[in-house]
């Protein structure tokens, strides 16, 4: 074989292939770096030249049409990129003025042209900046573009619709999301949190028909964030129907947040659930609701076999009532040294030190 390899020149060919590959790799790395530097330089020059004008515009020294005339079309990309930070940080009238500048000038047409492009990169650019400018008029086109097989394009369009607060697109956002196997719960939550509170009733409707446990738990998390109490009866059903663990955990968190007294029976039931993470969440919900009838059961969980449940129960007992606190103190200094007394000592000593 060695003779064969040396005679046929296969190894020499491999060497040449490797050399070419290294050369191309180096070239590629240099090109990435050069393009990045050019972009940064242009951006820096742009800021140096135009930042003052934008401030003057915010101070109402210009109207949007006057201002846009100052910018050549070739600089729109940098202009939008620069305006991004204003839109993300400013609030109130200042933010509205920047959005007006994007929506009522040729910048809008420029973004729509990008959004309609067949190139995914341009589509993403258009959807992102139109969303950021909360361009109400663009929502129908963005909705159409949501139906894509490119995950990144989907995320940007959904985020755009959320920023515009296009609540009618909720169903499309979920329907299209199911196409993407790797779309994470976090990503979907981040998108939905960009809507304002008015999205809750639409989410509630969606939740009734939703089959995916992941989507259901995302919806409950968002409803919890907005403390949307009208959803409580529906979510309570999930607790009684013994849905999957992520839904139960999210539901318990929800009830803790909205402090829904009707959930007490369900919480009592889940305090005895076989899964420790569910029991721990039920303890936290019980403490937040502050229902006295749950106090004894929470206390009993200090003797649960799972350590995390023990710690959660001990910490909650400290806050539940003076009576529980005293019981925790006597457990802490009881003999013999058990895991329960050790946990109680840990909780008590931390609280005492901090009170001192």
């Amino acid at each position: 074989m060695i003779e064969f390899l040396s005679q046929t020149g296969i190894v020499i060919s491999v060497v040449f292939i490797l050399l070419t590959f290294i050369y191309l790799l180096l070239l590629f790395i240099f090109l990435i770096r050069i393009f990045e530097r050019i972009r940064l330089k242009k951006e820096k020059n742009f800021i140096r030249r135009w930042e003052r004008k934008i401030f003057e515009y915010i101070n109402e020294d210009y109207n949007p049409h006057e201002l846009i005339k100052l910018f050549p079309k070739s600089s729109y990309k940098y202009l939008l990129h620069h305006l991004r930070s204003y839109q993300l940080t400013l609030k109130g009238e200042d933010k509205e003025r920047i959005q007006k500048f994007v929506n009522e000038t040729p910048l809008y047409d420029y973004l729509i042209k990008n959004l309609k492009s067949l190139f995914i990169k341009k589509l993403i650019f258009g959807a992102y900046y139109l969303g950021l400018a909360e361009s109400e008029n663009a929502k129908f086109i963005i909705r159409k573009k949501l139906k894509t097989y490119n995950e990144l394009a989907y995320i940007t369009c959904a985020l755009g619709l959320a920023r515009i607060n296009d609540v009618d697109s909720i169903n499309s956002i979920f329907n299209e999301a199911s196409k993407f196997k790797y779309l994470s719960k976090d990503t979907l939550q981040s998108i939905l949190l960009e809507f304002n509170e008015s999205v809750c009733k639409y989410l509630l409707k969606r939740m009734e028909h939703e089959k995916s446990p992941m989507f259901k738990s995302v919806i409950i998390a968002v409803l919890r964030h907005f403390k949307f109490a009208p959803a409580a009866p529906n979510i309570l059903k999930y607790l009684f129907n013994r849905e999957s663990t992520p839904i139960v955990i999210e539901s318990l968190k929800y009830f803790g947040e909205v402090k829904y007294p009707e959930a007490v029976a369900a919480i009592r039931f889940y305090l005895m659930n076989s899964k420790p993470e569910v029991r721990a969440e039920a303890i936290k919900a019980a403490l937040k609701i502050g229902e006295p009838s749950l106090e004894e059961r929470v206390w009993s969980l200090i003797y649960n076999h799972d350590r995390n449940v023990k710690v959660t129960a001990a910490e909650s007992s400290y806050y539940f009532s003076n009576q529980s606190r005293e019981k925790l103190k006597s457990l802490a200094y009881s003999i013999p040294n058990t895991m329960e007394s050790s946990i109680a000592r840990m909780i008590i000593s931390q609280k005492i030190i901090h009170l001192n």
Partner: protein, 478 residues
Amino acid sequence: MEVLIKIIYYFNYVVLFYFLTIVTIYLLLNAISFRNIFRYTRKVKFVELKEIFRLHNFKPITVIVPAHNEEKNIVQNVHSLLQLEYPDYQLIVVDDGSTDDTMKLLFDNFQIRQSSFSPYYEIKSKKIKAVYLSPAYPNLVIISKENGGKADSINAAINISKNPLITIIDADSLLERDCLLKIARPFMENENIIAVGGTVRIANGCKVNQGYVENVGLSKSWLARFQVVEYLRAFLFGRNGFDFFNGILIISGAFSCFRRDALVSVGGYKNGSIGEDMEIVVRLHKELRKQNKKSKVTFIPDPVCWTEAPETFKTLSSQRKRWQKGTIESIRLHKSLFFNLRYGWLGGLIFPYYVFFEVLGPLVEISGYVIFIISLFLEIVPLNFAIVFFVAAFLYGVVLSTLAVCLEELSFKKYVRPKELLLLMAAAFLENFGYRQLTAWWRLRGLLEYVIGKRSWGKMEKKGIQNHEQKEYSPAMR
């Protein structure tokens, strides 16, 4: 003599086959890693890490810092660890029987008071002498215990830790401020995750301010630069590729995160182990996959931790020998995983990979060089073939290192100055001529020392972090 020539002749084939196998494996790992990293960076681009604060969807973490004679860095490190971005974390500093002023400095700087809390020992560890808490820093806990080593200190801290997730860091590690937000995410996304590792980078040459890396740079030492490329390759390609097969067998001791119940269920860290960070991960795989086949150890490619690399041959050789001994020890202790298909890819592919390419790799590599030279003298292998084969092997090494630099440039772009990029490329090229062979030699020595029973930890000299602000990471001996 004829028999010897025949053996040498066929050994060349073994080396050739070995080389081609490893080329294939690395190419496969490379392809997987490119895909994984792009997927990861795309995912995190659209998720604001601090959403965690808005939704309260976090799991509390206990950060454990074992410290033994760390008087030079301890105050600054604890201060920087108290500023990590995470909604709920407890910081436990374990003074492992220090003989210097570590404890005194902690007393003076953090207003700590002894608490009445005595622990319940869920896992075995040396006696905890006292537990201190600080009214000024509610999440800080300091333990003073008898000296028992790093593994023992971690076990002691686990015994008093409160939270369901445990992050273990070295006292001289420099962390990214949002490292806990990053490392905790996989646990929230998947309940089967039992441990998560993050990417460790080299801090030599970086500018450090108040315990955080402020400007990423490269050291003036070529030895450190070679290690930068080596770490990029190991973390961006190696770990990422193995992650795809749920086959991560090692998480760096400089920064790792575990589920507390998982650690307790396997009895914590193994005392007296040479490579405790690998041993615990292999044991977790072995024990917990019996109970839940979906148990997963995973990895996040984000750079979360910066560590000091040795800049002298002596220290580096000691480190590499220790790593090699640690690998062999972990493999030997858990040999039942070898080609054990009950553990899926881990038993069938990854564990055998470690045996053949990590444990025996240096032996094959060094003997390959020797036999190849002998073959040339005995004219078993034609000279022209030998030269071209060597060139191909070196170039292949260059390709791998350059790919790692390329992936870094496409994803995290930590080295921003053009000079650093050029230096990295130069290091990617030069490390194949001498450095790689030298590390293979040190690893072979580690293997031989382990076989003859010389299994001590060895001395690790580190320079440590200076307590001045805005200084390069390269100060006084510890």
